[in-house]
């Protein structure tokens, strides 16, 4: 117990600080990847063949690439080879490159989540909207998208949870975040290895479980009864 408390004294602030980095990574990457994912989903459901093709190619490429490769790519290639500088500060630069990496990867999944939401809307809804005289945009705005959005809450919640957990992979992108802190702690204090793991894991459980419950609650509460 004493050993565990001394652990908090030494590493407590750093744990909280680096976990806050994970939350920030998640926050920015979530905003960016939902935006990019929505754009890709629009491309994939549009009647324009070339856009549909590009959207499908994007999703198939990035959905099947390990995130670790994308993160390594950010550090060794974007920064190492092409000297990409999107911040003057060294650490901030890696932080932003990691956000790009997380965004590129998760946008493919958000795209599919949104698209699966659109697929939950029965064809009859669109036909009914047209039958009462709505043209394309009003039909999309008033009938299709409200239902599609509700249908995509649950899958989008799943992607968001994955994003929270995947923010740890930013370790491969040279970002000082919680899994790097855990590694240091484990190496210096292997005597309290299990408590260290349980403590860091608890951070994630505390964040992930409420997000999951909220997504389930919302998707049930807002579900379209058919």
């Amino acid at each position: 117990m004493e050993a565990y408390l001394s652990l908090w004294e030494t590493y407590g602030p750093r744990m909280l600080e680096t976990f806050w980095t994970n939350i920030q990574l998640t926050f920015w990457a979530a905003i960016a990847s939902v935006t990019l994912g929505a754009l890709l989903a629009l491309m994939r459901i549009s009647p324009v063949t070339s856009l549909r093709w590009v959207g499908a190619a994007y999703v198939n490429i990035f959905r099947n690439t390990p995130l670790t490769i994308i993160m390594t790519f950010g550090v060794l290639v974007l920064f190492g080879v092409f000297q990409v500088q999107i911040a003057d500060d060294f650490n901030l630069n890696f932080f932003r490159i990691a956000i790009i990496g997380l965004t590129v990867y998760h946008a493919a999944f958000f795209c599919e989540a949104i698209r699966s939401g659109v697929n939950t809307v029965p064809l009859g809804q669109a036909e009914a909207a047209r039958a009462i005289g709505l043209s394309f945009l009003p039909a999309a705005r008033l009938v299709i998208f409200p239902q599609a959005l509700r249908g995509s809450i649950a899958p989008m919640g799943n992607v968001l949870i994955a994003l929270i957990k995947n923010s740890t992979v930013a370790m491969a992108g040279s970002v000082a975040e919680i899994s790097g802190t855990m590694r240091t702690m484990m190496e210096f204090r292997p005597d309290v290895g299990i408590p260290i793991f349980l403590t860091v894991a608890a951070f994630f459980v505390i964040v992930v479980l409420p997000v999951g419950m909220l997504a389930t609650y919302l998707s049930k509460k807002l579900a379209v009864t058919r």
Binding site: L51, R63, P66, T68, V77, V118, V121, A139, P155, M186
Partner: protein, 296 residues
């Protein structure tokens, strides 16, 4: 594109507009490709000597193929162990016994909420330091164990939702012919749930394969790790990572396509079954298969 929710069959005007957008989209895409190629050329990344190491058999024999084998090794073992883990804890969550049910629920929920990388780092250092496994084997054991705990928990949830998706009559029939709850689960319900689970299960194998690349962070000598060695050794990191990514993409794309194919097969089988025996008390609902989209 038949039966799109959003779009009617286009008339002459709309068709012209679509054609114009089509051309703009294609041109934009081509412009992007040209830009990428010109940037690569500017940085000398298209020079032949950057690529020649991948035409030498020694690169493949000494680095990439052993790396790929290690990726397959960890992924294949993790697939089997997580199936076993998932079956046990999935049935545990379906059990009526409060204690078994409670323990299974806590285990499954915990390992689904914890990042795989954290588990890998923990097992790697913990096993290595405690001498539970030889130092050299610690990364491999950590990769397999972490993949098993996470993906096994996901499989457990698949088993549970697969059984919940079955018609109630299946369990009632099992009980009626004198099976216990556990026997009915094992011999009647889970085998049927497995069929509906198949697409989602294949999707989960893609996740296992992708996540095995996390092993590179804990020095497990898999494909990403070995291609990084090739890249730093020959000053062609970009090309090396590209080759590794292409290998992963090809394998995973094949698995994803297989999952989609199985998914349509299962859906058709269900539809046929629904059409032929519309027995009383069993509503012919839409085919219940689990999608393949939401596997991150």
């Amino acid at each position: 594109m038949s039966g799109s929710v959003l779009f009617d069959a286009p008339g002459p005007k709309a068709r012209r507009r679509i054609l114009i957008l089509n051309i703009i989209g294609a041109l934009g895409f081509i412009a992007l490709i040209v830009w990428v190629i010109s940037v690569l050329a500017d940085y000398g990344q298209l020079a032949p000597e950057k690529w020649t190491s991948f035409t030498q058999s020694s690169t493949w024999q000494n680095y990439l193929l052993p790396g790929l084998m290690n990726t397959f090794k960890s992924a294949a073992i993790a697939i089997f162990t997580s199936l076993a883990f998932g079956m046990i804890f999935g049935m545990g969550r379906l059990a009526h016994n409060k204690i078994i049910n409670g323990i299974s629920s806590v285990v499954v929920e915990f390992f689904r909420a914890v990042p795989v990388l954290l588990m890998m780092i923990f097992f790697w250092i913990f096993f290595g330091r405690m001498g539970i496994v030889p130092q050299g084997d610690a990364p491999f054991v950590a990769v397999v164990l972490a993949l098993t705990l996470y993906n096994g928990s996901v499989v457990a949830e698949l088993v549970r939702s697969g059984v919940h998706g079955l018609p109630k009559g299946q369990r009632e029939a099992g009980i009626a012919i004198g099976l216990t709850r556990g026997q009915s689960l094992r011999f009647v319900e889970v085998p049927q749930a497995l069929v509906a689970m198949m697409p989602a299960l294949l999707g989960q194998f893609v996740v296992i394969l992708k996540d095995s690349a996390l092993g590179a962070i804990i020095n497990y000598n898999e494909l990403l790790f070995s291609s990084r060695l090739v890249g730093t050794g020959n000053a062609n990191v970009f090309q090396a990572l590209l080759v590794a990514a292409v290998i992963f993409i090809l394998i995973n794309f094949a698995l994803t396509s297989l999952a989609q194919w199985v998914s349509t097969r299962v859906a058709r089988r269900r539809a046929r079954a629904d059409a032929t025996d519309e027995g009383p008390g069993e509503a012919p609902g839409p085919p219940q298969t689990m999608g393949t989209t939401a596997t991150v």
